[in-house]
């Protein structure tokens, strides 16, 4: 896999590549290890392109934000990253999306297994309403065949602490998930995703259906979660992208009504001196 002067570093069992082009540039989040890499990624639904020409690296243990107006294909790209499009008839993902050095589409890894390594949090909180809080958190572990009670208990506690939910639910783990507030439900979903210890956490507008205080809580959470997982977040809210992300990828709908990648840059740079005039237009609120 090592081509074009990329260094290959072994970290325990997974292979991680470092992009040489940006390595060493001061303050660029891409100077560290790379977690996922998109090469010429395009997603088509029944022949109609939803997003194309996606080429960028996602730095490990950083927050990468995907921004852009509606229809620019950010959510489509995000869902391609843990193969949720597999369920949709007529959806085709081309190009390559790699996790470490595994191409997630070309026979590298079964979708079920991939999703334990790349977790996802959805736009609306979707805890399983028929399960208790505890059962929700450990559901991923149980699906994957882990039955040991001590292990489950420990993982649940760790995930709930990481999702800043432990203090408020530790004494009512048997209560139904539906008894939680909207913000708590979303944090429960984060804990559920964290419990299987994924390497990457995809978040699809995780705060768009929440009140400002819950949104604040989750934004603060992201900063702490960075050390544990690589985060990719889709957001409509540019302030949020500016607040939480290290790297920002901007997408627009092209003339053919397909989304395309316009610019990828460290968040500070993208919001202060973007290379592309269209990026400037968007962040100054001229469209979208």
């Amino acid at each position: 896999m090592a081509t074009k002067g990329e260094a290959v570093v072994t970290e325990r069992s997974t292979m991680v590549t470092v992009s040489a082009e940006v390595a060493g540039q001061e303050g660029d989040p891409r100077s560290g290890q790379i977690s996922m890499r998109c090469d010429d990624v395009a997603v088509k639904f029944n022949g109609r392109t939803a997003i194309r020409d996606v080429n960028f690296d996602i730095p490990k243990n950083k927050v990468t934000a995907l921004i852009g107006p509606s229809g620019s294909g950010k959510t489509t790209l995000l869902r391609a990253m843990n193969r949720l499009h597999d369920l949709t008839k007529g959806a085709v993902v081309s190009g390559s999306i790699r996790l470490g050095d595994t191409d997630i589409y070309k026979g590298g890894i079964p979708a079920t297994l991939l999703r334990t390594r790349v977790g996802m949090v959805f736009q609306r909180p979707n805890p399983f309403p028929t399960m208790s809080i505890y059962d929700n958190v450990v559901s991923g572990l149980r699906f994957n065949g882990i039955r040991n009670r001590a292990v489950l208990q420990e993982a649940a506690e760790s995930a709930l602490i990481a999702a800043a939910l432990w203090d408020s639910v530790s004494n009512r783990m048997k209560a139904h998930a539906s008894t939680l507030s909207g913000g708590e439900q979303q944090r429960l979903c984060i804990a559920r995703a964290l419990a299987v210890e994924p390497e990457v956490l995809l978040m699809d507008e995780p705060t768009s259906s929440l009140d400002p205080i819950s949104m604040r809580l989750i934004e603060e959470l992201l900063d702490e979660l960075k050390s544990r997982v690589t985060i990719i977040i889709v957001t409509h809210n540019m302030q949020q992208a500016a607040r939480v992300s290290d790297l920002c990828a901007f997408f627009l709908m092209g003339n053919d009504r397909a989304g395309e990648q316009i610019e990828v840059a460290p968040t500070k740079k993208l919001f202060s001196e973007p290379d592309d005039p269209r990026t400037l237009d968007y962040i100054q609120g001229r469209f979208g």
Partner: protein
Amino acid sequence: MPEVPTSPSVAMSNPLLTENSKSFSVKSDWAHWSVLYGASGLFALICAVFLISIIVSSIPAWHHSGLSIIYGRVWSQGSNSFGALPIIAGTLATTAIALFFAIPIGIGSALAIVHVVPGRLRVFLSSLVELLAAVPSVVYGLWGLLVLAPWFEHTVEPDLANITGHRFPFQAPPEGVSLLLAGCVLFIMILPMIVALSRDAISIVAHDQFEGALSVGATKWQVIRKVVLPGARNGIVGAVTLATARALGETVAVAMVIGLNPLFPPSLFATASTLASTIALQFQDATPLQVAALGALALILMTMTAVVNWFGRRLVRGLAFRVGVI
């Protein structure tokens, strides 16, 4: 129409008046409410008379036989002996046979329609199932009698008997028209109803919960088993309950294929009888006392189905009312 000040009773019965009377004045409308109460009252009256009529019509039979109508083991019209226990047993047995097949096949089909077959076929199958639920039961009975009965007599029942070594409950000589045939006809009849109602319940379980489970590494079946089925549980149990009520009370389709034999069926291949089919087939030429005995059967049947139905309704209340199906 004269305008009358809002009366307290009308205001109580009407959410808009009580909630919004402060924001704007609502004119009361006696004519409107009297028409509404008139029609509703008429329906309530009909139901009350219906209930009374069934009870009253059975009184002579209770006088004649007492509670032995319920536990007596001999039903013979000729000798005015009215013990309905074998008939009640036949009713329960046919329903049990129908449910034995209809529950797994119905729920499996509903899951397949929602989560396996592709979009266009799904729409086609859903409409087909609803149309089949509307096919009159006498047509199912006709098919059972003219197509299924000969096949059961010459193929299904002899083969079953041979495979099982003629052991209980497969031992009697095959007759075609039998307890087993009635159960199977009922199964085919209630299947569209179970499929249509459970399909509704299953498709109500939100898609984002499905994706939520997938995204933590569940296989499709694990999602169905742990998230979809628990989420749809009430609707599915409700569907099965309503289908049970339908099977208990089905009249002509069963009357055509059960052979009407008011004895405990010694075998699945033996003729038997159910409450509804007994009422249907013995009504003609019945003396007043015999009519009363059939009224007693009707009362037993009504109690059974009303209770089962009431439970079922409570469970499917969240789902839209389906005229074609229920």
